[in-house]
């Protein structure tokens, strides 16, 4: 995700709303040609606002997943309109994820912190989003440990339960205990309102322009 980062991302909460908007309007108008124009326009909008890496990254997925999805839909419905709508739906999903791919979790969390969202929520989100790489490496190590103990077959439910799930949960408990102590000793207090947001996230003119263009496009897609 880091490689798809944008220099000047859109206001994080607006990014989230833009995803929701694209998805909802894309799906609602899926059967019409306007949907294709709308989705293409939004894709271009993201491109212009600096999201070119994410815009390009979703293309291969859109083509492959769209192909499979359309194939299945046509095989089931034998109807070109339904298949066309299916293609628009998959494109809508792909365009909707563009801001998410480029958004640094910390930006969203700072945005929420700046708006004084409950600290337990922002902390939880930060951990849920930031612990992927560590947990991935933990699962790999446990898989390796299973092999060293002669319990390599994960498709055996008993072995999966005992040799994978049990050590995994033990490690998760250890990790969360350490993290809780670390967060606590680093001064995190859910009740304390006197905290700073190091990098303030501001709503700028370019965000307003982005929002206006997106809303205008969405309304136009429905009206047309």
């Amino acid at each position: 995700m880091g490689t798809l980062k944008v220099k000047e991302p859109v206001y994080p909460l607006l990014s989230v709303l833009s995803s929701v908007t694209v998805l909802v309007f894309g799906l609602v108008t899926a059967k019409s040609v306007a949907a294709s124009v709308y989705l293409g326009g939004v894709w271009l909008l993201f491109l212009v606002f600096g999201y070119w890496k994410s815009c390009l990254a979703v293309l291969p997925f859109a083509i492959v997943a769209g192909g499979i999805f359309c194939g299945i839909t046509y095989a089931l419905s034998k109807d070109a309109t339904t298949t066309y709508a299916a293609a628009n739906r998959i494109v809508a999903v792909c365009v909707a994820v563009i801001p998410g791919l480029a958004l640094e979790p910390i930006a969203l969390i700072r945005n929420l912190s700046g708006l004084r969202a409950p600290r337990i929520v922002t902390l939880g989100m930060m951990i849920a989003l930031g612990f992927f790489p560590l947990l991935r490496s933990e699962t790999v190590r446990i898989r390796e440990a299973m092999i060293t103990r002669g319990a390599g077959n994960v498709f055996n439910p008993r072995i999966f339960h005992r040799a994978f799930l049990v050590p995994l949960v033990v490690r998760l408990v250890n990790i969360s205990d350490t993290l809780a102590l670390s967060v606590g000793t680093r001064g995190f207090d859910p009740k304390d309102k006197n905290y700073t947001v190091y990098r303030e996230v501001k709503f700028r003119l370019r965000d307003a322009i982005f929002a206006l263009l997106l809303v205008a496009g969405s309304v136009a897609a429905v009206v047309v």
């Binding site: 989230v16 995803s19 929701v20 998805l23 909802v24 799906l27 609602v28 899926a30 997943a65 769209g66 499979i68 999805f69 299945i72 839909t73 089931l76 419905s77 339904t82 299916a86 739906r89 998959i90 999903v93 909707a96 994820v97 801001p99 998410g100 791919l101 958004l103 979790p105 969203l108 337990i120 929520v121 902390l123 939880g124 989100m125 930060m126 951990i127 849920a128 989003l129 612990f131 992927f132 947990l135 991935r136 699962t139 339960h161 799930l165 049990v166 995994l168 949960v169 033990v170 998760l172 408990v173 990790i175 969360s176 205990d177 993290l179 809780a180 967060v183 606590g184 995190f188 859910p190």
Partner: protein, 239 residues
């Protein structure tokens, strides 16, 4: 024993009410092990660590509760990433998303709720797991939050919180299957996708998928509760 000794007994979750003979003998032994001088109170008079009221439906979340729920949400999300493999089928095959995430969305939440037995735990887990879904599938995010909220209300009404394993089982086993009707309605209203068509044209397939999702949810919850019970007994999964 000193008069105000009880101030030093820091019990966050459960107050020890059993001041039995064994306890007194142990206290005497402890006193002998130290030295002759009386032990000083750690806390100045009138001060102690904040205690949670045992039996209260609403209890405040501590840092370690939030961290544990978030770590469990992270592992749920990580293991649910297999859903990426079935993205093209999501709006065609009824219940496919719930089927491939059935175990993950029951084993880990069951363990999470077995440790953090506080009202709101399931809703917070749903919120934390939903952050990534916001971009991929806002409908799923909203459905998870709504289902989480409904289940919290039901657990309060029926069980008065997650104190018993029955309450945990009830909430977790229903969490994933309840998203099936939600997704169906969503697809019917907004998506007009093939999924509803398939579900309507081949109702037995849809029923089969729903049955499979429910079975997985029950099995996953039982497995999660079993692991939690075992690790609690071993002293790993403390409150």
């Amino acid at each position: 024993m000193k008069e105000n000794e009880k101030d030093n007994v820091v019990v966050n979750e459960k107050e020890d009410k059993t001041n039995t003979g064994t306890q007194i003998l142990k206290d005497i032994k402890d006193a002998e092990q130290t030295d002759d001088r009386a032990e000083e109170n750690f806390f100045p008079e009138g001060r102690t660590v904040e205690k949670c009221k045992e039996g209260a439906i609403f209890q405040p979340f501590r840092i370690k509760d939030i961290v544990f729920l978030a770590v469990m949400a992270a592992i749920t999300l990580l293991t649910s990433s297999v859903m990426m493999l079935v993205v093209p089928l999501l709006t065609t095959v009824f219940g496919i998303a719930q089927l491939v995430t059935g175990l993950q969305l029951s084993v880990f939440p069951a363990i999470a709720l077995s440790k953090v037995r506080k009202t709101g735990s399931l809703f917070l887990t749903a919120l934390f797991t939903g952050v990534i879904q916001l971009f991929m599938s806002p409908a799923m995010f909203v459905s998870n939050l709504v289902i989480g909220f409904i289940l919290e209300l039901l657990v309060i009404a029926i069980f008065r919180g997650y104190k018993s394993d029955k309450a945990v089982f009830f909430a977790v086993a229903l969490y994933n299957p309840l998203s099936l009707p939600f997704n169906y309605v969503y697809n019917k209203i907004i998506n007009e996708a093939a999924m509803t068509a398939v579900a309507e044209n081949a109702p037995w397939a849809a029923v089969g998928m729903a049955a499979a999702v429910c079975t997985l949810a029950v099995v996953g919850t039982l497995v999660g509760l079993k692991i939690a019970k075992e690790l609690k007994k071993a002293g790993v999964l403390k409150k």
